[in-house]
Amino acid sequence: MTRALAITTALLLAAVVAMGVYLHILRRSERERAQNTPDTRPISAPVVGPASHVTLYLAYDDPGVVHAQDATIALPADPAQRGREILHALLGEYVKRPSSHELPAGADVKDVFLVNGNTAVVDTTPAFAEGHRSGILVETLTVASLVKTLTANLPGVTRVKILVDGKERETLAGHADLECFYDVVTLEQLLQQLQ
């Protein structure tokens, strides 16, 4: 092999190795970018229905209160779907910036199921819990706002269970219990304190 051929071969090999490394880095950064980007795809088809008046119970971190606020949103006829749309509107207020009670991007309700007429099971997205701020007060405000908004707008529902991505979870972000069923009567005392 001539010296020129040896140098050319070495250069080509070095180029192949360098391109391989570059490709590996590109793939890794793309994978990380995909993982770090919140999943903002719609989780259900848009609903069609008449515009209805609902009451959202909005949480305010400062000074740690929950206040009722009227809203008008399009609601379908099915009670479970109505529940999902009402909570979607509520959590939409929290993922806005600025917000009175910030929740992470992607925090939403996947579905609401009604069981025995009086129990609602709310299935939330992973981002709802994974990105939730930790703290007794902030977690309590989220739970109180969500449960009160649902029970106030779905007559007959007196108990609410919160799931995360279809599974039971011990706490929301280290403090608020998500293994229990929340009932309206018990919650009322907290809401009075949060006025």
């Binding site: 007794i136 219990d177 929340y182 005392q189 304190q193």
Partner: protein, 462 residues
Amino acid sequence: MVAVLLLLLLQPAPSAEEKQLSIYGPRVSYSLPVSEHKGQDYVALLEALEPFGNVSAASEGQKWKLRFNNLEGEFRQNALLTKVAGRKFELPAPFVLESNRGLVPLRSLPTILALMLRTKTEYHEAARRLFLGGAATRFTTDLRETGLSVNFSAPVNPLISTEPGKLRMTFTRDPVVSNAYILRVENPLVSSIAFSENNGRAELVVQERVPLLAKFASGGKTIDIVPAPREEQSTPSSAAPAAAPRTAEAPVAMPAPPTLQSLAAKPPFMVMLDAGHGGDDPGVLLSETLEEKGVTLAFARRLRSELQNHGISSLMTRDADVTVPLEQRAAMADAARVAIFVSLHAALEGRGVRVYTAMINSMTSKPSGFLPWDTAQADYVLTSRALADIVKAELGRREIPNSELCAPLKPLNNVAAAAIAIEVSPSGADVGSVNAAVYQQRIAAALAEAIVVGRSRVEAER
């Protein structure tokens, strides 16, 4: 008796295999776990300094920087040379950085604490007991034919246990010191008295010729050891001495199997301090270097010290940076039959202190059998709320901003005792104030005072 045995199991004193270091200061005493690296004993420096003030640490690559009040320390992974409070010196073994925790060789800790705290230290290396600022409790013995009195220079709170032929007093929190000795005596009750130190604690062992029991006197400064009455030996429920011990760690005259009588007896007044989070669960990230788990542990230690000053014994669900599952914390409180459970947390939101009780409906009638796990708190929630009212009033009296709420906080619903949670927020705009010694001390003093005031109410409901 069962409750006492369970309490003995829950004591911070570890098993024989686990090494520990006890540090005794003028105002606070605590123990830390000791870990081994390449045959050398190491201890976490941040945890060692936490009870004394505002401490934080940050690692930059191989470097680990520590800030304690206005002093700094610089350490480097696997390096011997270090700089503490502006002074360079060499560690006896390399510095270890493990999961962002800075570990220093145990033998270097007395020097580091002396520089950081600007105080004199005395280290009993073989026993792993470190005394700061001249902290020491000395004692004398007065042996008579009717009994033995051990007189201490300050009130003590030892764990007292008996085994055939021996009465053993173990001092973990008290800086009891003496030269190691065995004194053989000619006495109808006692054959020898021995003092020894080992693994972060001191022991005084009395070899007995007849069964003995111990009683506290003079506000805890004297322990009288007298013959156990014969009837007490056969009646487990009256095994505790007539002169009521100050704590559940107090005398166990004769070990005996549990009976229904002993189970029904009211357990001693004890507070369980639950430092929130820990280990794998850091809690809220309060700042770049300040995690909730560290703040709650420092605060729990301060509160323990304050309660001790009021003569109230406490247990801790954790006394180091370890993971303790939430339900296990409630189980520990229930097993120990504590009177009060205090869960400690920290947050960024708001100012001052929020006092929480369980979000649960109170029970209208006393349960006759086992308590349901999920609603164990229902029978106690009114007492919990009464205690929270007292805490709120005490905080208000000390002009600490406060509020009171119920909350669905894990694991309050599982606690069969008066249970409250405390969430400490910064005192002002500076987030770091949540970990400031002065601020935490004010809150701890208010809490301890409230527990003293609320004790009669809690006792009445037990």
